[in-house]
């Protein structure tokens, strides 16, 4: 925290006057963002005014599309860096990763918030979203469990993010109070993440006749949980690189973080997790007795996903982190992210209706809607990082990390 306490407007406009700040916003990047939002926000408004049928290519045969497959499932998997890093730093005491925890938690928090916004777009009656929490409990449903966990975990992520917010405002009393519950929040966050990251996979256990045997497995929850750890690690590698490059001036020189060294360490963990994940997927094929399916076009597609985007990045991670090849580790992280996205899209869309002659292809409005939601997330991330102490290498005051 800075000793002086600048006026709120100064904090908001980063020390500039409102006019200077507004003028400073006129950059090519911001114009592109404005362009996306100028198209995207009316598209989302159109979806709510005229319904899902008018805006999407969802059908009776394909009830779930891009907004569930990408915004919800990929959004939550890629936001798993929050709990993965929180567990590594606070529970396992790997404090060398502390400098990237805040950014990982912010990515997680915004990832969840915008995944829920994607869900709101997809729900037929989004204004009823609190119903599973307060109105009618469908306790036999995996969706019910996911709903509760996501609602609770998003709240926990908000609690984990709040210290940076209060430091920004210079409010010390709530900061102290948060410090008291921080450990509990982190444990609760890991428990809730374990539950719903796996349950997002359990959702598809109900569709044994629909999901292709190469993807259907009683171990779906384990696949989803383990791959979410890989996705979280890969996202932290990529996100910390981008953040520390773009927001270089936001990090105090005395606290400048060696993101490369952190990436190498995370890469080593990702290599192990991805390798285990590939073997679990093979076990899934063995369990289903689906080896013969590997010789079909669906098998080729499975090999692209599991071989090309899980096994290959696992080896690159291992080689890169062993020989301190930071470029290789970042490449592997990008491949792993693509791999997890492919997996979620396969399970929820492509391989789910493999017997269905009608192929679902998202409408342009669904794609624009997803792009808009991601853009809103990036803009919010940038707005917060530019103001609050996210990248400055601080972390919690928990004793294990001092």
């Amino acid at each position: 925290m800075s000793e002086s306490s600048p006026a709120f407007a100064d904090r908001l406009f980063l020390g500039a006057t409102a006019r200077e700040y507004a003028r400073g916003l006129l950059t090519p990047g911001n114009l592109a963002i404005a362009g996306i939002l100028a198209v995207g926000l009316p598209v989302l408004a159109y979806r709510f005014a005229f319904g899902l049928g008018a805006a999407t290519h969802l059908s009776q045969q394909s009830p779930w599309g891009l907004w569930i497959g990408f915004d919800m499932l990929c959004g939550m998997a890629l936001a798993a860096g929050g709990y993965t890093l929180a567990a590594a730093v606070y529970m396992f005491g790997l404090k060398e990763y502390r400098p990237v925890v805040r950014a990982a938690i912010l990515t997680g928090f915004l990832g969840y918030v915008f995944a829920v916004i994607g869900l709101l777009c997809d729900l037929g009656q989004p204004w009823r979203i609190p119903y599973p929490l307060v109105y009618s409990w469908g306790t036999t449903s995996v969706m019910f469990e996911v709903g509760w966990c996501v609602a609770l975990y998003t709240s926990v992520l908000a609690l984990e993010f709040l210290p940076a917010f209060f430091e920004w405002l210079g409010w010390t009393t709530p900061l102290r109070l948060l410090g008291k519950i921080e450990l509990g929040a982190i444990v609760l966050g890991i428990v809730l993440s374990t539950l719903h990251q796996s349950s997002l996979g359990s959702l598809f256990l109900m569709a044994p006749g629909k999901l292709h045997p190469l993807w259907y497995s009683p171990y779906l929850p384990v696949f989803f949980f383990v791959s979410s750890i890989a996705a979280g690690l890969a996202m932290v590698i990529v996100e910390s690189r981008i953040s520390h490059r773009l927001f270089h001036d936001r990090t105090e020189p005395a606290r400048r973080v060696d993101v490369d060294r952190i990436a190498l360490g995370l890469g080593r963990a990702a290599a192990v997790v991805l390798f285990a994940y590939v073997f679990l997927r093979l076990q899934g094929v063995a369990e289903a007795g689906a080896w013969r399916e590997l010789a079909t076009p669906w098998g080729a597609w499975w090999l692209v996903e599991v071989g090309g985007f899980a096994l290959v990045p696992s080896f690159i991670f291992a080689y890169g982190s062993r020989h301190a090849l930071i470029g290789a580790v970042r490449t592997a992280a990008l491949l792993a992210i693509v791999g997890v996205v492919l997996n979620r899209i396969n399970v929820s869309i492509i391989a789910l209706h493999w017997k269905n002659p009608l192929v679902y292809v998202p409408s342009w409005m669904e794609i624009v809607g997803s792009v808009t939601i991601v853009t809103l997330g990036v803009v919010t991330f940038r707005w917060i990082v530019n103001r609050m102490p996210i990248l400055s290498g601080r972390g919690s005051a928990l004793p294990s990390t001092r």
Binding site: G51, F92, G93, R128, V191, S202, M206, I229, V272
Partner: protein, 302 residues
């Protein structure tokens, strides 16, 4: 050395999760053993008696205040297989098998343990004690998980409406409450639909099937499908020739998620002490390192 210990702990964490999921085998009561299931009501469809007149479609539309079925009285309607829709809760299809034409209506089969009701996060779909699987539209949030879960692809969604609902046959619960059979059963002129207690219908189906000179295929569709359904079909043509799914399996869909849902209390009770143990251990390690002033330990002091 330190790396070794850490990777060991990570491995333990992963194995712990795997173990928790594996420790709970998905086993449950066999389909026929669900208490009271056969005492619920149902309908027996005998396709050898169906004339293909589509009176059931008309009666269904009237009873549910839906638009009149398309191409009434036009036999070309049978040329292509039709699915039920949000505006047509039952449709009659012609068998693709050779020989005399055979017809069968399709609609919700009203499972004994319905996948849709197990999947619904708000109990909007619900199995009543009497037998029908009903829909409480005041609860539905529109997640459409029922459509993913249903092994027969029965629930349909009103995509075209700004305030949409799920639509499917609910077996006319208000008529049942008045002591009347479902509208389609009452309208059937050929006696192809028989309404009654499931156990009675099963016995009747077997009686017809094993009568001398019977030409019936010796299976009752719905007796075991997806754990058993309230609607039962017998036919002298293979049921797949009417477009009925053959991959529904014999266990209720609920069984597939039983293990995963059963693991929740274990994760909730076992994870926190495990994590706190890890926390205490890593904290102690940090304290010892600080006391010894170990130069190798990184420090990020405030």
């Amino acid at each position: 050395m330190r790396i070794g210990r850490r990777s060991f702990l990570k491995t333990c964490a992963v194995l712990g999760a795997t173990g928790a999921a594996r420790a709970l085998p998905a086993s449950g009561p066999a389909a026929g053993a669900i208490a009271g299931a056969d005492e619920g009501i149902g309908v027996l469809v005998d396709t050898t008696r169906c004339l293909g007149c589509r009176s059931c479609e008309v009666a269904c539309a009237e009873s549910n205040r839906l638009p009149e079925p398309d191409r009434l009285g036009d036999d070309t309607v049978f040329d292509a297989h039709r699915e039920t829709s949000e505006r047509q809760l039952t449709v009659v299809n012609r068998s693709r098998a050779p020989g005399e034409p055979r017809y069968a209506k399709s609609q919700c089969l009203h499972c004994i343990v319905p996948a849709c009701a197990s999947a619904c996060p708000v109990k909007a779909l619900d199995k009543t004690a009497a037998g029908p699987v009903v829909y409480h539209e005041d609860r539905c949030i529109g997640c459409r998980y029922c459509m993913i879960a249903c092994p027969f692809d029965v629930p349909k969604y009103e995509y075209d409406r700004a305030v949409p609902y799920v639509r499917k046959c609910t077996m006319c619960p208000s008529r049942l409450a008045d002591g009347k059979p479902p509208a389609c059963v009452e309208a059937c002129p050929g006696g192809a639909l028989e309404f009654g207690k499931r156990s009675t219908l099963l016995a009747e189906a077997r009686r017809r099937m094993y009568a001398p000179g019977s030409t019936y295929v010796p299976t009752i569709y719905g007796e075991h499908e997806a754990g058993g359904t309230s609607w039962l079909y017998i036919s002298d043509r293979p049921l797949e020739s009417f477009g009925f799914p053959q991959d529904a399996g014999e266990t209720p869909r609920f069984e597939t998620t039983r293990g995963a849902l059963g693991a929740v209390p274990f994760v909730v009770t076992l994870w926190p002490p495990l994590l706190m143990g890890l926390y205490t251990a890593s904290r102690r390690r940090a304290d010892v390192a600080a006391a010894e002033g170990a130069p190798g330990e990184e420090n990020g002091h405030e």
